[in-house]
């Protein structure tokens, strides 16, 4: 390699002097591995004195070149120096790629840094390690919540489900170290099973454009990555201890990495977390503790032209659910809504009792890649086992036994090819095959999710073309085939009510006394495409335009739900007749990146046909009283909104950050607002950071959430025997707007060149404000969290 460079350098000295030499070579330098731009690289044109350094967007311009072939040597502090041959004919544009050996220890954090990586025509938002460490006591959802356009659907403060531009659950795909998380994400009270402390980098793509991962990410894709490991001999680690006043909880997380110059490395990470009952400003939120453990191991070989790695993680989370939210009937719900305080408040405890969830998620991934002349080929196999136990309050011999027990196994194989068709055209293509098996043992409670087997096959191709230094175009397509083979026991009364005995009589396997065993075998064929362009104005401004079509197969709960969801005290009905929903999202982003004033403005419109939603439709009388019935239905939905980020730098030490997002969702068939759409919210933060005073960082953040004024009326009436009246159960009115103030600070102490200590202190909900959040499923029963003091101690060694 080095000899080639020398030869090229020598050859290029033979310069013809008689040519027209007024041409310009411009281009962009990116990392071969992940496409991120390389700033501060030096380009030397062999045989001349011409030297250039790439700017912070990885760009360079070399002028006064002649129509001939040049050799250019490109070097970067963390990369192997490489020679390139460039043929100049007129003004030429060229993109170079270097292999960037990431210097983990020296990595610079830039909040909300934008790199074009997963999708080149959708703006991406990234959260890096230092920022993530501020959420070490929280959840993945809390960290994502700090980005504009992201909100969350919560069950208390421990089950935090990310919501992107108003969409959540199966419409948000989470890729954990290259593996699509299969953790029964369909349920509104199922949070992603990821330890925020195992993550080094979090990337958010607000749209379905990242087709290499999936074609059904109507809302968006969250890419979670563990740390990249440098190719050099080193041993380093980190231990973080965090303590919280609210919940009287602590957390310890530790990570140790060993790497070799040969490319081999190993990394081990673990977390223990234990929290007791959280507290609202005026009372204890009984049974809201958490008990969480996580361990992850990564072993691999990283060479320029080939490599492999193995990743394994085990995440275990036991979460208490507010005791007062466990209800027997709609009459209880009415009492709970009428009451200002939870119907049950006990003294603080660390113990967890029913209702609670106990979830275990294991993930193993093996990936191998090799670079050939035509590109980089990689093969991945991954296996996931998700075990989910949900405990309700039970009676008799079933006391202490789980009501819901699900075991979901998923095997996936991926074959991907990443290649450059020419200097300016990149192509990514691949195949995916996956097998999933859900098994629900008998718990004495009817299965909410039936036993099923699911087979998926996918194929995609995505290509981008860098036309010149201004324009980049991207196009992609993906096809997915899904086959589901299900065994489901239906209640005979429901089977007949829905007319399934006429429409689906061919599915009946067996008829029992009051149940019907059906075997639905369904096929779904889904296509998705993305089309986009990026225009770089050459200065501070850049424009992203993307149009994506996504298709999503209905998930098992949408198809097969039938019966009482005990923890929610509501009856949920799915529908066998559902077909795939198809979303068209048009998104535009204008961004300005400048040392003084930066912003990004991102309007979008997402039109989804056959959108599946669940909402209350009425009541059902039973011997236990009245239950609200929630039914899934398909409609045509439209979501439109805008995200806005801005930051202003007053001085080297002081900056101001602003974030706001707005989304409106409508049911176009029934001409009414959609349920559970986030209210307009805005965050403003003043940050003081001084590298001269031991990286002292002081941040004051204000968060204002407006009241959601657009919501469907899903209230219903029930009969109350004591008063002999019919009363309205108000389940739709959103709570009032609220304002929270948060403070955060940190300071670093260096012991030696290789070890340092960081101290952090923060307060959330500074004024101990009582509030309720529209998107918190427990808002009917209790206030949200009160003031919390956080203390963080971190050792790097």
């Amino acid at each position: 390699m080095r000899i080639n460079v020398l030869v090229l350098l020598l050859l290029s000295n033979l310069q013809a002097l008689s040519q027209n030499c007024g041409f310009t070579l411009s281009g962009i330098l990116t990392d071969l591995h992940d496409g991120s731009v390389l700033e501060g690289a030096t380009l030397i044109v062999a045989g001349s004195e011409l030297t250039f350094v790439t700017d912070f967007e990885g760009k360079f311009t070399i002028s006064n070149l002649c129509n001939q072939t040049y050799s250019i040597q490109v070097s970067h502090p963390f990369c192997l120096t490489k020679g390139f041959r460039v043929r100049i004919s007129g003004d030429t544009f060229k993109s170079f790629k270097l292999e960037h050996h990431l210097e983990e220890l020296n990595e610079i954090t830039v909040d909300g840094k934008i790199t074009s990586k997963e999708s080149k025509t959708l703006q991406e938002n990234t959260i890096l390690k230092e920022e993530l460490e501020r959420f070490s006591s929280g959840t993945l959802g809390d960290a994502l919540n700090s980005l504009s356009g992201v909100s969350s659907l919560n069950t208390g403060n421990t089950i935090v489900k990310p919501m992107i531009n108003g969409l959540h659950s199966s419409r948000v795909v989470i890729i954990n170290n290259g593996v699509r998380m299969e953790d029964q994400e369909w349920g509104a009270e199922h949070a992603p099973n990821i330890d925020v402390n195992a993550i080094n980098r979090l990337t958010l793509i607000k749209g379905a454009g990242a087709l290499q991962y999936s074609g059904d990410a109507m809302g968006g894709v969250v890419v979670v990555e563990s740390a990249k490991i440098p190719v050099k001999d080193s041993l380093y680690g980190k231990t973080l201890f965090a303590s919280n006043s609210n919940g009287r909880g602590s957390l310890i997380t530790s990570k140790l990495t060993k790497s070799y110059a040969s490319g081999w490395y190993a990394s081990l990470q673990g977390t223990f977390k234990r929290f007791g009952d959280s507290e609202a400003p005026d009372y204890v939120l009984s049974n809201t503790g958490v008990n969480q453990q996580n361990i992850s191991v990564k072993v691999g070989l990283n060479r320029f032209d080939y490599g492999m790695n193995f990743y394994y993680s085990f995440f275990k989370n036991e979460i208490g659910i507010l005791r007062a939210s466990h209800l027997g009937s709609a009459q209880d719900l009415y009492r709970a809504i009428k009451s200002d305080i939870p119907l049950l408040i006990n003294d603080f405890t660390y113990d967890l009792s029913a209702p609670k969830q106990d979830v275990g998620h294991q993930l193993a991934r093996m990936i191998a890649y090799k670079r050939f002349g035509f590109g980089k080929l990689s093969f991945q196999y991954d296996y996931q086992r998700n075990e989910r136990l949900e405990f309700d309050i039970r009676r008799g011999s079933d006391r202490g036994k789980a009501s819901l027990d699900l075991q979901l196994d998923t095997h996936t194989v991926l074959l991907d090819l990443d290649t450059n068709l020419s200097d300016n055209v990149d192509l990514k293509t691949g195949l995916m095959g996956s097998y999933q098996n859900n098994y629900a043992p008998n718990t004495g409670v009817r299965r909410l999710i039936p036993d099923y087997k699911k087979y998926d096959f996918g194929i995609y191709v995505v290509s981008d073309y860098q036309l010149d230094s201004n324009w980049l175009f991207e196009a992609g397509a993906r096809f997915d085939y899904t086959y589901m083979d299900v065994y489901k026991f239906y209640r005979t009364s429901f089977w007949e009510l829905r007319n399934y005995d006429d429409d689906f009589s061919n599915l009946v396997v067996e008829k029992l006394v009051n149940q019907v065993l059906a075997r639905p075998q369904f096929n779904y064929y889904n296509g998705s495409t993305t089309l986009g362009a990026t225009y770089d104005f050459g200065g501070d401004y850049k424009l992203f335009l993307n149009y994506s079509i996504a298709s999503r197969t209905p998930n098992p709960s949408e198809l097969f739900s039938e019966g009482l969801h005990h923890s929610a005290a509501r009856i949920e009905y799915g529908d066998l007749k559902f077909n795939s929903e198809v979303g068209h999202k048009l998104s535009l982003t204008l961004e300005r990146i400048n040392e003084k004033f930066s912003f990004s403005l991102n309007p979008f419109i997402n039109t989804i046909s056959d959108f599946i939603l669940i909402e209350p439709v009425g009541i059902n009388n039973s011997i236990r009283g009245t239950f609200p019935v929630w039914e899934y239905r398909q409609t045509n939905a439209q979501l439109l909104g805008m995200d806005f980020n801005a930051s202003y730098v007053f001085s080297e030490e002081l900056r101001f950050d602003h974030l706001s997002s707005m989304v409106k969702g409508y049911d176009r068939l029934q001409d009414e607002p959609l349920i559970n759409i986030p209210a307009i919210n805005t965050k403003n933060e003043l940050v003081y950071f001084n590298p001269k005073i031991k990286n002292l960082r002081l941040a004051l953040q204000s968060e204002y959430v407006f009241r959601q004024n657009e919501y469907p009326d899903t209230n219903f009436e029930i009969y109350i025997p004591q008063t002999e009246t019919r009363e309205l159960v108000d389940v739709s009115s959103p709570p009032n707007s609220y304002h929270l103030l948060n403070f955060n600070s940190s300071i670093d102490f260096d012991f030696s060149e290789k070890s340092s200590l960081s101290l952090g202190f923060g307060i959330t909900n500074l004024f101990n404000t009582s509030y309720r959040n529209y998107l918190n499923r427990l808002r009917f029963y209790a206030n949200d969290l009160g003031r919390n003091l956080l203390l963080n101690i971190k050792f790097n060694y």
Partner: protein, 185 residues
Amino acid sequence: MRKLNFLATVLFTTLLFVSCSKDDDSTPEPVNEEEVITTLTATLVPAGQGTSITLKSQDLDGDGPNAPVITVSGNLSAGVIYNGTIELLNEMESPAEDITEEIEEEDLDHQFFYTIGGGLDVTTSYENNDSEGNPLGTEFTLVAGAASSGALTFTLRHEPTKPNTGLDDAGGETDISVTFNLTVE
């Protein structure tokens, strides 16, 4: 290239393996719900002469779409004192499971409430207690007053606050709520 072949082989073997595992079909076992109460029967036996009255609410599909079937065997007689007993059954299981026993075993965690409405002139009182001396209410006394008609509601609360002064401060969760329309003649 050898590596490529190897990868391809692994890929297709896995796919093959995956597609072959399709045939191990076995149907899941049916779930018979264990804690469901399908039937409440309150039997009112007159202390002296007269006919017994049976109040029954039966909901054989549990929380399924069918509403409970409510039957009242006859009218109450004015001035008569009735000894009442409540029986709870899960008729989804075969033979039917007697849930009353479970309730009486976990007496500290349960309490029945009787709510009278719509001008019905009757009074009720508890006849059995839990192990701490607070009312349980699977046995009760009903005194029929003057001729009238109205509703009598039986409510069973799970894990109520004990002692309490009635449904309003009892808390807990509703296990049963059944209303019978009665007439005193």
